[in-house]
Symmetry: C2
Subunit: 195 residues, 2 copies
Amino acid sequence: MVDLDRRVRRTRRILHEALIALILEKGYERITVQDILDRADVGRSTFYSHFRDKEALLVASFDGLRDELRREFDAMRPDMPAPDAEPAIAVIFGHAHRHRRVYQALCGKRGSEFVHGHLHRLIAAMMRDHLEPHLTAADSDLPVDVVAEFCTSAALGLLTWWIGHDFPYSPTRLAEMYRKLAAPGVRAALGRAAE
Amino acid sequence: MVDLDRRVRRTRRILHEALIALILEKGYERITVQDILDRADVGRSTFYSHFRDKEALLVASFDGLRDELRREFDAMRPDMPAPDAEPAIAVIFGHAHRHRRVYQALCGKRGSEFVHGHLHRLIAAMMRDHLEPHLTAADSDLPVDVVAEFCTSAALGLLTWWIGHDFPYSPTRLAEMYRKLAAPGVRAALGRAAE
DNA sequence: TCGATCCCGAACATCGTGTCTAGTATTCTG
DNA sequence: CAGAATACTAGACACGATGTTCGGGATCGA
């Protein structure tokens, strides 16, 4: 599976591109396998020899992005002092901006609930790990899960809004707005006065 | 349409109940019309004489809840002084708690993206209308849309998390947590120091 | 009891899915 | 270059779900 034939890689790439294009045109739900086949000019049996179904293709498309995002997280992980996880969120916004087209397809309004869910879980887990030590240290009365869910939903909400409105601000500006809105609440949850 | 036959009302009610039960069991997407028919013990043609398709039934189920929620909003609208819209969010949480089962089906993990979207739009519009005067008065550097989206996503995120975890806190406690997390940021956006 | 309205069951055409088979093109290897 | 291995193609197929239609039976109001 590692040393794939060049043809295989080409076919898969063509299928991914067809999927992205079609999602942008008519939304994931309304796409049929036949649509993908026609667009990619690939035979039916070829498709099913690569992917179990439409969703498997989506997952594969998403996996690439997700792994790249994870690597960017890990590269930054060691030094994230702020209690609000703004740097991490900034990474996501930057990543989304660099892959505008794909994000627009996968995470936009026409994307699938599946991708939203996975991205949500990914960020939420990261957020929880990050917040946990801070909150226990400060002996907060707010449960970690609630704070993490709050920050995650807010960040992802901004992200999808941003995507849906065609990226009206720069990634750093959006991250700054996120920080302005989220940080005071998180600090308050830590029991400290706002700086 | 207003003066419906008793039988008609009964049939529709049975269909709604079957839908809710089935969503809780296997999730909206995986339900087939035949499933609903079997569960409700209703004929195929009867179903299609009432609803265009599966989604129309879902919409009808959601509409009732939505109207009720809107009325509760309007009843409270006149006096909402706080810049954060915490009272309105508390109304939602209370409403969800009173209709646990239905919310669990429609807004939970097994619900449909459709309902999420509509609820999101509903809250976002409310939030925007509420925030607009405050933000322009304070001459904030944050756009209304961004702040509204932030608050809406955070509130809905907490809501679905809460539903998905079987309502671990009281509605008022959850609303209080929301306020603690959201209010400082909104106040900061208004340029005032946190109190 | 009559007529209107609603509901039922069954049949039907249509569409999308996923499988399979036989055959063609490309690449790798000796 | 010959032959094997590996991708891909085209088409047919069974299956399941959708939404429509129709004749007949049940239930209600007058």
